[in-house]
Amino acid sequence: MTEHPAAALSCRVDARDVDLDLTIPAGRRVAIVGPNGAGKSTALALLAGHLRPDSGEVRLDGRIVSAHRVPGSPRTHLPAHRRRVVTLEQRPGLFPHLTALENVAYGPRARGTRRRDALARAHTELEAVGCADLASRRPHQLSGGQSQRVALARALAVDPELVLLDEPLAALDVEVAPAIRRLLADRLTGRAVALVTHDPLDLWALAGDVVVVLSGRVAQTGTVEQVLTRPTSDFAARLAGVSLVEGEVVDDDELRTPAGDAVTGVRSELTDSWRRGVRAIATVDPRSVAIRAHSTPAGAADPTSSVRNAWPARVVSVAPAGALTRVTAELRDGQRVHAEVTSRSAADLALAPGVGVMLVVKAAQVALYPRP
């Protein structure tokens, strides 16, 4: 018997212009990332049963739970309370009128477990998240971290077939988040999880796979490693902390941007798909980009320097980034490249939006790969 994926979405939601096709394999933890409004929350709502697709279907463990194939035909929709899909949100959402223990026992009770058994289960779950001593507290007597622990216990007390995490750490203090992140990683091992996050740390710590969603469509899927080392969108590149420049392959180690700037780098993988004319991507670490005042002729590398990349650009924004200054500049074709330089050099060069500059990068610091 083949094992069904824990969840599979293949559907449209017209009002939000979302058309998603994604799978959460059994026992895998999949991060769904994308800009605000891209459709991440829509995906979670479809899986949880809080939203019906306008067309297409939603499957849980191979079973169709929501479907609407032909317009006008009756819809199938298994309501949220008949699914075994729980959500952990930014806000813990504990029931304020119940104690921590009653909160955790709520799910088992709702699913017909006898009161005594439900409370026993709740005790076990609270213990597993390190909150056994808080059983009789009311939510308003719990800290943010404690509430999130109780919320996790409550979610797992119903033996969910799918756990949805909607930025569960975003509202927590930075001192508390790491412990909860570790707890989530620990308690969610082996479960099917869909995780929405903006934090790359969550990707590495909590997810195995990543789905990048842009404007309601899946733009890239792969393991965390694949997506973060070979991003194919500006959004994924930002998560990976690099700038992304696209162009066409012109040589073994070179691509050319639409505006004609040569980007020389190192190919991260030798594949047959790297051929002249193929669309390719270069990624650049902002810290390896140096900025020169705009004096050399456009597009020409300084022949007296070992630095092979020199791109004319215009500064778009200058913002502090810790002790450094993060400069965002637009190449001649509008592609954006970030550079992190010392605040002193930013001041010396009088960097400000609109200023023309030269971005210089050593070829060894540029990673090249074909666009899949």
């Binding site: 959402g93 304020p96 709520y106």
Partner: protein, 264 residues
């Protein structure tokens, strides 16, 4: 931080208003024969009126909660034209002159009324019975519960209800274990406002139910009837109503305050 100061004359205006509202109560207090209040309240007519008021108001408050809650829940979830119509209909008795409400009830449920004549055939008489008192009170008091409850229901965090559903709770269970417990303070304060309104009901009761001692003559009717013939009894009963009304308001405010504290 200091708020911007208010104009000084505002205080004077507010004091005048409070005095104006308090003055009639003071006037009443001056005339009440305090020493005789216990004996005045123990007359048969007074006791029957009190007992009748208590029973009918308790029953109509229960009816308001039972019949009003489903309406409030539905209205809190709806925003369409139909809901706006339903909202107007449910709130109307609040602003309707009570005598008009009584007339409408009489024309509908009275012996020759639109519905009443059919009930008469079945041997059911409503007009001028204690049942009519309860119907009149429920009719005028219902909006207080519905309006208070709808407002509270709209402020319930819908995420809590979604969470409950995700944990496996059926819609009925969500309503019973999350939604309604969260608005319990509003139910209590709405119910006490309804009770207060029912207790003070006069016009609709008189028109629809008449004034038969022990059957339909509630406290306000007894006060009205005895205000000239037996002013002292009327004053003693009025005092009783004032105390009960003030008590209900205080209880309602206390419930509201407790809720605010708990949500912090």
């Amino acid at each position: 931080m200091l708020r911007t100061p208010l104009p000084r004359w505002l205080l004077a205006a507010a004091v005048v208003t409070v005095l104006l509202l308090a003055l009639p109560l003071v006037g009443l207090a001056v005339r009440i024969p305090w020493a005789e209040v216990p004996s005045l309240l123990s007359s048969e007519a007074a006791r029957e009126a009190m007992s009748l008021s208590l029973r009918t108001c308790a029953l109509s408050t229960v009816l308001c909660v039972l019949l009003g809650t489903p309406v409030a829940v539905l209205l809190a979830r709806s925003n369409g034209t139909l809901a706006a119509c339903a909202r107007t209909v449910t709130a109307l008795p609040m602003v309707l002159p009570p005598v008009v409400a009584g007339l409408a009830l009489l024309i509908t449920f009275g012996r020759v009324g639109v519905v009443g004549e059919h009930l008469s055939v079945l041997g059911i008489e409503i007009g001028f019975t204690t049942t009519a008192v309860v119907i009149a009170q429920t009719f005028v008091a219902m909006p207080f519960l519905v309006v208070a409850l709808e407002g509270a229901l709209r402020s319930v965090d819908s995420r809590l209800e979604r969470t409950a559903a995700s944990l496996g709770a059926s819609p009925t269970r969500v309503l019973g274990t999350v939604t309604l417990p969260l608005v319990l303070p509003a139910v209590l304060s709405g119910a006490s406002m309804s009770f207060a309104r029912a207790l003070g009901e006069f016009g609709a009761t008189l028109t629809f139910a008449g004034s038969l001692q022990g059957t339909t003559r509630t406290l306000p009717l007894e006060i009205y009837l005895s205000r000239e013939s037996d002013t002292e009894t009327a004053l003693a009963l009025a005092l009783l109503l004032i105390i009960v009304a003030a008590g209900l308001m205080a209880a309602s405010a206390w419930v509201a305050r407790r809720t605010v504290v708990r949500h912090d």
